[in-house]
Amino acid sequence: MELPVFDVTQLEEGLRINVSAYRLLFIYLLLCQAQTLSPSDLNTHLLNHPMVQRTLTVETLNNYIHTLQVFGCDIHNTDGHGQIMLHLKEHPLKYPIPKDHLNIIQLICAQFFQHPLASTYHHFLMLIRRIIPFNQIQEIYQNVSNKIPFEHQLSTADIQLAERFQRYCIDGQVLVFDYEMPDGKSISKMVEPLEITYHRKRLTLVGNDPKTNKKVRLDVERIHHCRQLPNRSRSQAVKTMVTFKLMGRIASNYRPYPGETVVQKGDSLLVKHKTDEVDQLLKRLLRYGATCQVLSPNSARKEMLYMIDRMLNGLLPHNSIESL
């Protein structure tokens, strides 16, 4: 671990300080920022510190740790692979956060929980652990961990169904099932499951179609006779670069989505967006009306025109699109 930021040059010359208390405060600082440290690491940091430049005996270290404990620090000795480690679990300067802030953290945890971003979720939890007191962490865990985050929106039968498909996603094996199309006909499908989400009041299975390498979203309720194949998911969805132009007010207001690159071209913006879900992107672009034009690829332009025509078909008398 790096040393906490110490700017020794900023200290006033001839500043009278209590050297012993200074060392103790430095140990407290190290524990605040590292949370877990071995006594030998601690001594290395003390030795390298320009204002300390020495190590501590076990007795002195015990004395300092005990002082911190009397002050209110919850410091435990933990066993880190055969080595004694000092772990700062809680300290008096970590104040509880307001209830509504806690709710927002829960909302973020729930959102992360819906996506297979395990490392990001884990890192987020580690960050939160450093920021808020342990009892509030427990409260978040109780509300989020081992639960399906959108549970409050679902019936008991839906929860069971969601849990079943969530297990399939964790297993990461190819699924084969019959999928009921909107017209009632059934087709056989093969999908590599990625995640289960709740979208448009429907449980949705997001996965890769191994034949096309495209991401698909399927209504879980339309899935019948589902079974897992012994082979594991291997393919990756192919990402498409969609380029679109934004004009008028939206061009001056636009805040790019993650991963988008934006180039200003006169009064308009040229945006490049790489996605494995082109349909979802196009739906978002429809919202910008005639101030947005998809430039490439051609397939996306065609799809955009198809969606516009589909909407116009509903609005206009029959066959009038052809007459436009």
Binding site: P4, V5, N18, T67, I108, T120, R301, M311, N313, L315
Partner: protein, 316 residues
């Protein structure tokens, strides 16, 4: 680890630090705390207190001297006894807020912004202000911390049906002045907007809060009731959504009534009471539904014109 005696001076310095982290304190108040603490039980001299404060300063705390300006208080403005935000932490926070960006309500947006600001301000990073600015530049919503007071004032004006004269920076057109009845604040696509009824407009308007240069309350109960009537007069918007079951239908926003079309059971009739047709138009376009506007005809021709303009772009 064997517990033994503890370091008295260090303990006193730690307690002083803890009290100052709660609030600024005078020399007298600090000594009262020293005297009542069961492990200390005595007062300290001004010199000793400075000795303690110097020790805290040496470890990185910023404590200002007592002056008449701060009511002779010792004020702890910064301390490093907290977490350090790393580059990786910032990336995770960005992922986190981008993941919930679309889900946010107006209230959530305000709370999330407050929480993020507190995460930066309470961190031990010396460049935390710069990190905060950089962070908000890179996420999909604006940091409106400088508008805290304006948000409170607008909320109060909405509650009180208070007419406002608003100086507004219109993109590509410059500053314009509107007389408006503010209805509510709402969050959309990274920004806060005031939904309002303008005097010179039949439709409700959306004014982006950060573009409002100035607003002044005007005392005019007559105009307030006139604009309120304008808002109340809005007819329901009736849509027919094709090939969509009740179960599949996701509300387009606003209070709405949905039932299967009696003449064709696979379609839905949706009645909306919207206070902003522009937002409904955007949401309807983004929904991907195939739909028909039954009423009002003005909305039907508006959305039809938009779709035809969109279509034209792809035929060129």
């Amino acid at each position: 680890m064997k517990h033994n005696s503890f370091n008295q001076t260090a303990y006193r310095i730690l307690k002083l630090f803890q009290w100052l982290s709660e609030k600024p304190m005078t020399f007298q108040e600090i000594n009262e705390r020293f005297e009542t603490d069961s492990r200390i039980g005595r007062r300290v001299s001004q010199d000793t207190l400075w000795f303690y404060i110097n020790t805290l300063k040496a470890v990185g705390c910023q404590i200002s001297r007592p002056t008449p300006k701060n009511q002779y208080c010792y004020h702890l403005s910064y301390h490093p006894f907290t977490y350090f935000l790393t580059y990786q932490d910032l990336e995770v926070l960005k992922d986190a807020v981008n993941a919930i960006d679309e889900e946010l309500s107006y209230h959530d947006f305000l709370v999330l912004t407050q929480w993020l600001r507190s995460v930066f301000q309470k961190s031990a990073n010396r460049d935390r202000n710069q990190l905060e600015t950089q962070f908000f530049d890179e996420v999909r919503f604006a940091n409106l911390c400088h508008l805290d007071q304006e948000i409170k004032d607008i909320e109060a004006h909405c509650q009180a049906n208070q007419i406002l004269k608003v100086q507004y920076d219109v993109p590509l057109e410059g500053t314009k002045t509107y007389t408006v009845l503010p209805l509510r604040l709402f969050y959309e696509q990274g920004y806060l907007y005031i939904l309002c009824q303008r005097e010179d407009c039949e439709q409700t308007s959306m004014l982006r809060l950060d573009r409002v240069q100035k607003f002044t309350p005007i005392d005019s109960p007559e105009l307030s009731s006139l604009l309120k009537k304008k808002v109340a007069r809005k007819p329901a918007l009736v849509l027919k959504i094709f090939d969509c079951s009740l179960q599949e239908f996701e509300p387009i926003g606003e209070p709405c009534e949905v039932y299967p079309d009696p003449s064709s059971r696979q379609d839905l009739i949706v009645k909306l009471w919207c206070d902003n047709e522009f937002l409904i138009k955007q949401k309807l376009l983004a929904s991907g539904y195939s739909f028909q506007v039954i009423q009002p005809l003005s909305f039907k021709s508006d959305i039809e014109q938009t779709l035809q303009e969109m279509r034209q772009i792809y035929l060129e």
